[in-house]
């Protein structure tokens, strides 16, 4: 028994550390130029899925769509305790907005077979849109509970969740399957398990194995795949060929929103009056504010 959870995770640029070279002229982002991190709320989502497994049994599958480099993220999911991972990666998926992303995610999830709960972070720190979760739920035709802060219980195939609302909270009960997006406070992500790091540090995706064959002409992809699969070190990878997707609905082409213009933020360099950080300086400032009738 137990529940099968799928967790949607994303590798995001560390938006606090952005240099000038990351934007391409067409306004999309050159992620290769950015330090990449595990989207914080997705990590919380994974933790919540693992806690659900700890309590009720079942399995946890972490799924990400992204560039080949996102394999790092999936290894981290394995280190934390995910049973399975899936990378969805193809140049044809690049430039996707939330609609095109959710379409591919939904198609991939459908291919994975029956599931009970899909967990996702509320939003990713690179876009803060909070759209992919609900859009994936809509495409799968399942209900959603957003802003979840606590799984209260799962009983008789129904899940009770406490979620935030404006100025309060509500407790909802949903049948399974359901998609749940979680906020930061919902759980504290566990650290990597040393044993699991040892076990999975050599886990590889299809693109990583292909890279190994490029570097060494004595290696053949089919042999490598077989070897890694037999050692349980292959991280399943879907390219566009593995999914039955409508090519007009993926990537930049399948994205209704387009970046029309990108402007660097140029500060006007406004004139302002400077005051010293001393009692005299502050006295001057306060007198000025009083004259302006701001206060006093």
């Amino acid at each position: 028994m137990g529940y099968r959870s799928i967790v949607l995770v994303k590798q995001v640029p560390d938006t606090a550390n952005i240099s000038g070279q990351v934007m391409r002229p067409d306004g999309t982002v050159n992620r290769a130029k950015l330090p990449a991190v595990f989207n914080p709320e997705d990590k919380v989502a994974l933790e919540l899925a693992l806690q659900t497994k700890d309590q009720y049994g079942g399995t946890v599958t972490a799924v990400t769509m992204g560039p080949p480099k996102a394999s790092d993220l999936l290894r981290e999911c394995l280190y934390m305790g995910a049973d399975e991972v899936l990378l969805i990666s193809d140049r044809k998926f690049a430039g996707a907005d939330t609609l095109a992303t959710s379409y591919v995610l939904a198609e991939a999830i459908n291919k994975l077979g029956k599931y009970d709960i899909i967990f996702a972070g509320r939003q990713a720190i690179d876009g803060d849109t909070a759209q992919v979760g609900p859009q994936t739920a809509e495409k799968l035709g399942v209900p959603q509970i957003t802003y979840a802060e606590k799984i209260v219980e799962i009983k008789k195939n129904k899940i009770t969740v406490r979620r935030r609302i404006d100025g309060g909270f509500e407790e909802l009960r949903s049948p399974l399957p359901v998609l749940i997006t979680v906020i930061k406070d919902a759980a504290f992500p566990r650290t990597f398990r040393a044993k699991r790091v040892m076990a999975y540090k050599n886990a590889r995706t299809l693109m990583e194995l292909e890279k190994m064959t490029e570097a060494n002409s004595l290696l053949y992809i089919d042999d490598l795949l077989q070897e890694y699969k037999s050692k349980n070190l292959y991280m399943p990878t879907f390219t566009v060929d593995d999914l039955d997707v409508d090519l007009t609905r993926i990537g930049l082409r399948g994205s209704p929103t387009k970046v029309h213009k990108v402007e660097s933020v140029v500060l006007a360099g406004s004139e302002h009056e400077q005051f010293e950080p001393t009692k005299e300086g502050l006295n001057e400032l306060i007198e000025k504010l009083m004259q302006d009738h701001i206060f006093g």
Binding site: M23, G127, G133, D166, F169, E170, P256, I286, L289, M290
Partner: protein, 339 residues
């Protein structure tokens, strides 16, 4: 392509039967967009016994209210609300649909956009209508969905050129609230609610809702702290100063993320937009997302140790110094003046 609609719709958000401020702000903006498109402004309102609110909606120049009322629709629930809005949008294809970027709007809008395969841009800080040439093709009167992106290093203008429906969410306080002097004589179109089994998949077991006591938007003076305040304890001096001046305390996103101050006090693109008489920014560097939420304050004081901090570019009065040292002095001097 069939004839493109020129209708602008605003989703009216109600909590406990009371219309959220953000909906009136969106109606104010929506009216301007509709005037440019020479089309009608319509409101879509779902709830129970909401008719008494229609007058206030017409006060914003709304030409038509699409009203769906039922006892089962009293509280927002994802499934019936998203189904109703999705079906209406799919059937009538308005040109623009605006939602508040609230817990409700951010739960609802993506499902509607997904169902109707429309573009949706979150947390816009400005909306404009303009003729656009995109990839050598001319598109008349597109909605420009403008928002800071990528850590505030850029301002992105998003368009949805090839789909008939353009959607956006906007945070509370971003658009100004401008009722007309006189309400227009608009039409109320009541639409029946036909329940579907999916509507009741999720049950509400318990609900706890309180009007927030914190009202940053109407505070005349705001004392705001950033990551530079270093700790939650250091915010105490900001509370003291705010109390003394009759104002409220706010924080930047970095301060909220660090746990120095609760999210409901966040000012900026993903928080509240404020226009106080005086805004005192303490230890706030002034990323564009923060400035988007406060740069229209009447007077801005910036206190920061870094003379190069961008906050100094938008302030009127600058103090290069450590807020932890300057604020207690400020309090002292001010108290002395009051005597």
């Amino acid at each position: 392509m069939s004839k493109i609609s020129n209708e602008v719709w605003v989703f009216i958000e109600q909590r406990e039967g009371k219309i959220a401020d953000v909906s009136f702000e969106l109606l104010s903006k929506g009216r301007k967009l509709a005037e440019q498109l020479k089309g009608p402004l319509k409101a879509i309102m779902i709830g129970h016994e909401m008719k008494a609110n229609c007058g206030s909606i017409f006060q914003y120049g709304t030409n038509e209210i699409l009203l769906i009322e039922h006892k089962k629709l009293q509280h927002y629930r994802t499934m019936p609300y998203s189904r109703i809005v999705s079906e209406l949008v799919a059937e009538r294809k308005p040109r623009i649909v605006l939602f508040g970027a609230t817990f409700i709007g951010r739960d609802l809008a993506p499902r509607v956009a997904s169902f109707t395969k429309s573009g949706l841009t979150a947390d816009c800080t400005d909306l404009q209508i303009e003729d656009v040439t995109y990839l050598k093709q001319d598109y008349p009167q597109l909605l420009l969905q403008i928002r800071p992106a990528f850590g505030g290093n850029i301002i992105a203008t998003i368009i949805t050129p090839d789909v008939p429906i353009q959607m956006a969410t906007v945070r509370e306080g971003v658009m100004e609230n401008h009722p007309l002097d006189k309400a227009v004589n608009g039409k109320i179109t009541e639409l029946p609610y036909t329940s579907e089994p999916v509507d009741d998949l999720i049950e509400i077991l318990d609900r706890h809702h309180e009007e927030s006591k914190i009202n940053l938007k109407s505070a005349p003076i705001i004392v705001a702290g950033g990551y530079g305040m270093q700790s939650k304890e250091n915010f105490d001096m900001l509370y003291e100063l705010a109390h003394l001046l009759g104002g409220e305390v706010a924080g930047s996103r970095a301060a909220v993320d660090a746990g120095f101050i609760p999210h409901e006090r966040q000012v900026g693109q993903t928080g509240v937009t404020v226009r106080p008489k005086l805004y005192i920014a303490c230890g706030i560097s002034g990323a564009i997302q923060h400035r988007a939420g406060m740069q229209e304050a009447n007077k801005i004081i910036a206190i920061n140790t870094d003379p190069e901090a961008p906050i100094f570019e938008v302030c009127h009065y600058g103090i290069v110094g450590d807020a932890m040292d300057v604020i207690p002095k400020f309090i002292d001097v001010y108290k002395h003046k009051l005597k």
